[in-house]
Amino acid sequence: MLNSLFFILVFPGFLFVSFFGLVAEYVDRKIYARLQNRVGPPWFQTFADFIKLLGKEDIVPCEANARMFGLAPIFALSAVVTVFLYIPIWRYDAAFSFNGDIIMALYLLTIPTLAFFIGGWYSTSLFARLGSVRCVTQLFAYEVPLFMSILSAALLANSWSLRDIANFYSLRPAYCLFNLLGFAVSMVALLGKLEKAPFDIPEAETEIVAGAFTEYSGRLLALLRLAIDIEMVVGAALFVAVFFPFALALGAALGFIVFIIEVLAVVALLSLMRTVVARLRIDQMIDFCWKYLVPLALLQLLINLILKGVLV
C-alpha cells in the first residue's frame, strides 16, 4: 500500500514526472531557440514560469461553467501522470502492469485533448470555442495513424502489455529496425497530439489567440501547461518503451540514465521537426494525415503481420 502510494505520488509518479516534464520543456525550448539562432531560456525558466503562474490569481469568466472550466486541467494532468506509471523505465518491470495496459495508455493520452476541448468549450469565449473544435477535429486525424503504428509494434511482440513489449524488443534489439516506419509515423502524429508546429492549429496565436486556453490564467493555466509538458515526456517515454527499449538490459542505474537520454532525444527530435515547418491549415492537416500517415501506418501493420508469420 505504502509502496503504491510512493509509486503514484513520488517516483515514477507525480513528483518525478512533473520535474521531468519541466526539464523536457526546457530542453525543447532551448533547442528550438538555438536552432533559431536565439539564446534561449536559462535552465530554471520553466520552473520559474510554473511557480509564478501558481501564485497568480485564477480568473474564471462569468459566462463560463466554473466547474467544468476548473476540472478540465485536473483531468488532463491526472490522465497523463497515470500513463507514466505503466511505462517500464529502468527495470524489466513497470510500477504497475497488466495485460492490455498499452491500450489504456493510448486511451489516457487522448484524455488531455478531450479535457482541452471541454475546458475551451465551457469557457464560452469565441476564440476558445474555435480552438476546442479544432482540437477535436485534429484528434480524429492523428489518433488513427498513432494507434496503428504503436499497436503494430505490439503485434510483432505478441502482447498488449507495455512491460512485455519492452522486454520482447530489449531481448531482440534488431527487431526494432522493423518498426522504424511506425516510429516516424507516430512522431508526426505526436506533433499533432502535442499541438506543435506544423500541427499547432488549435492554438494558432495569429488566428485564435491561444485557442482553447485563451481564458485560462493562474493556477489552472499552470496545471494545463504542466499537463502538456508531461504529455510530451509521457509520449516520448511511450515511444522509447515500444520502439527502442534498449535501456532495460543495462541494469538499474545505467539503464535509467540511458532511458532519460533516450526520452530527451525524442523530445529534441520533436523540437527539430517543429523548427523547420510552417503551420498547416486544418483541412490540409487532415488531408495529410489521412492521405499519407494512415497508408504508411497500414504499411507498417502489413509488414509486421508478414514478419510475424515468418519470424515467430
Binding site: 506544423p198 495569429t206 488566428e207 523547420v276 510552417a278
Partner: protein, 434 residues
C-alpha cells in the same frame, strides 16, 4: 456554435495577428469566412492638421514619423513637393544619397515583412532568421544617418549628412552578406513545402481586380500590374539608375512573396550603383524659410507601394494644407476581396501580405454627401465607405479652426473628468514670476 449558424469573431482592435490596432469583424461559418468588416481609425493622430501649425522644417520631422518603417519614404515625398513649389534644384550628390537610403530602407522593410509573414503562418524560424539579418541593414542605416528608424537625413534642398569613403566600404561589406543570405531566403520561401502550401492560391487578386481596386506596390506587381513610380515617374536619382521592375503573375500571396524577395536583390544592385556613381559636390542648397505660394503633388515608390503627398503653400513659413496618402490605404480595399470564401487561417497572412501600416493610413475623411456611385446597390453602400471614413458616426461633423479644435478638446476632456485648467494656471503664474 451550431454549424449552420454564422457567427462573428472580432480580430482586433487588439489581436496577436495585428501589430497595430485595427478592427476586423469576421463573419464565420465553421472555418470559412462569409464576410467581413474593416474599421480603420484607431491610430488617427491628426498629423495633417498638426503640419499646418508648424514650419516646413518642423513638418519634415513630423512627417518622418507618419510611419515607423518607411519613414524616409514619407519625408522624401514631402520634401520633394516642397522643393517643387520653391523651385529648388537639389544637388546631385544629395539625390544619390536619398536614393541610397531609400533602397536600404526598402531592404529593411522587405526583410521585416518576410519575417512577419513567416510568423503569421506559424513559421517562427523564418522570423528569427530574417530579423537577425535585418540587423545588418539597420546597422548600415545607423552608420550612414545616425539613426536606426527615423533617419532624419532629408532637409529641404538636400540631405544633412555626407557619406565618407570609409562608410562606403562598410556598406559594401554589409550588402555582400545580405545578398548571400537573401539568396538562401529566396530558396526557402519558394521551395519549402509547408510555406508553399500556406501561400499558394491564397488571397487571389486578379490583374483586373488589382487595377479596379487600385492596388499599389508589390501587391499590384504580384498580380501582373507592371507599375513602379521609380521607373514611370523617376524622382531622386532613379532616372540614371538601371534596375528591373519585378512582376509576377501568381496573383496570390506566394506571388507577393516572390516579388518582395526578388526586389531585395534589385535593391542591393541599386545600392551598389549609387555607391559606385556617387557624384562629387555639395549635399545641400540653401532654401528660404518662406516658401512661395503654390501647390504640388509628389509621388514616391515606398516599400509598400506608391506614396502620395500633396502640399499647398501660401507664402508663409507654414504650409496651408498637407495631405498624405499612404500605400496601405490603396491596398486595404483589396484585402476584403482577397478573403472572399477563404478560411479563417488564411486571414492573418492575407492581411499581412499587403504589408499593412495602419498608423500611416489613418486619416479622417469627411464626406459631406455620402451617396454611393451609380450602379452600387444600397446594401453595398456601407461597404463602399466603411473603410474610407465612418461617415455615419459623424452626422454632425463640421470643419473646425485650430483654436476651436483646441477649445473643443479641452472641453471634451473636462467632461470626461480630466481637467488641466488648474495646472495651466500654476504654470502661467510660474512663467509670469520669471
Amino acid at each position: 456554435m451550431h454549424n449552420s449558424d454564422k457567427f462573428n469573431i472580432p480580430l482586433g482592435p487588439q489581436h496577436p495577428a495585428l501589430k497595430e490596432p485595427e478592427g476586423f469583424s469576421v463573419a464565420l461559418k465553421g472555418e470559412k469566412i462569409m464576410g467581413m468588416d474593416i474599421r480603420l481609425g484607431y491610430n488617427h493622430r491628426g498629423i495633417e492638421k498638426a503640419c499646418e501649425e508648424r514650419t516646413y522644417i518642423q513638418d519634415l520631422y513630423l512627417i518622418e514619423r507618419v510611419c515607423g518603417i518607411c519613414s524616409h519614404s514619407h519625408s522624401t515625398c514631402f520634401v520633394q513637393a516642397v522643393e517643387e513649389i520653391a523651385g529648388v534644384q537639389v544637388p546631385k550628390r544629395a539625390l544619390y544619397i536619398r536614393t541610397l537610403i531609400a533602397e536600404l530602407e526598402r531592404v529593411h522593410s522587405h526583410l521585416l515583412w518576410l519575417g512577419v509573414a513567416g510568423h503569421e503562418i506559424g513559421f517562427d524560424t523564418l522570423l528569427m532568421y530574417t530579423w537577425r539579418d535585418r540587423e545588418i541593414v539597420m546597422d548600415i542605416l545607423a552608420l550612414l544617418t545616425g539613426n536606426r528608424v527615423n533617419y532624419g537625413i532629408n532637409t529641404i534642398g538636400g540631405v544633412r549628412r555626407d557619406i565618407s569613403p570609409k562608410q562606403i566600404e562598410e556598406v559594401y561589406k554589409g550588402i555582400k552578406t545580405l545578398e548571400e543570405r537573401t539568396r538562401y531566403y529566396i530558396e526557402v520561401a519558394t521551395q519549402e513545402t509547408t510555406i508553399i502550401k500556406r501561400l499558394s492560391g491564397v488571397g487571389v487578386l486578379s490583374r483586373e481586380d488589382a487595377l479596379r481596386l487600385d492596388a499599389v506596390g508589390p501587391t499590384a506587381r504580384a498580380s501582373g500590374v507592371n507599375r513602379d513610380v521609380r521607373r514611370d515617374d523617376p524622382y531622386a536619382a532613379y532616372a540614371e539608375i538601371k534596375f528591373n521592375v519585378i512582376t509576377d503573375d501568381h496573383n496570390d500571396v506566394y506571388g507577393r512573396t516572390v516579388v518582395r524577395v526578388k526586389e531585395l536583390m534589385e535593391s542591393y544592385a541599386i545600392v551598389k550603383q549609387c555607391l559606385k556613381d556617387l557624384p562629387e559636390g555639395p549635399i545641400t542648397v540653401k532654401v528660404p524659410r518662406k516658401i512661395p505660394a503654390g501647390e504640388a503633388t509628389s509621388r514616391y515608390e515606398a516599400p509598400r507601394g506608391e506614396d502620395l503627398h500633396y502640399v499647398k503653400s501660401n507664402g508663409t513659413e507654414k504650409p496651408e494644407r498637407v495631405k498624405v496618402r499612404a500605400p496601405t490605404l490603396a491596398n486595404i480595399q483589396a484585402v476584403k476581396h482577397m478573403l472572399k470564401d477563404r478560411y479563417l487561417a488564411d486571414m492573418p497572412i492575407v492581411i499581412a501580405a499587403i504589408d499593412p501600416c495602419f498608423s500611416c493610413t489613418d486619416r479622417l475623411v469627411y464626406l459631406s454627401h455620402c451617396e454611393p456611385p451609380k450602379g452600387v446597390k444600397q446594401s453595398q453602400k456601407r461597404d463602399c465607405f466603411a473603410s474610407l471614413a465612418m461617415t455615419s458616426r459623424f452626422k454632425n461633423a463640421k470643419v473646425m479652426s485650430w483654436e476651436a479644435l483646441r477649445t473643443y478638446s479641452i472641453e471634451w476632456h473636462r467632461v470626461h473628468g480630466i481637467d488641466f485648467s488648474e495646472l495651466n494656471n500654476t504654470f502661467r503664474k510660474r512663467l509670469e514670476k520669471r
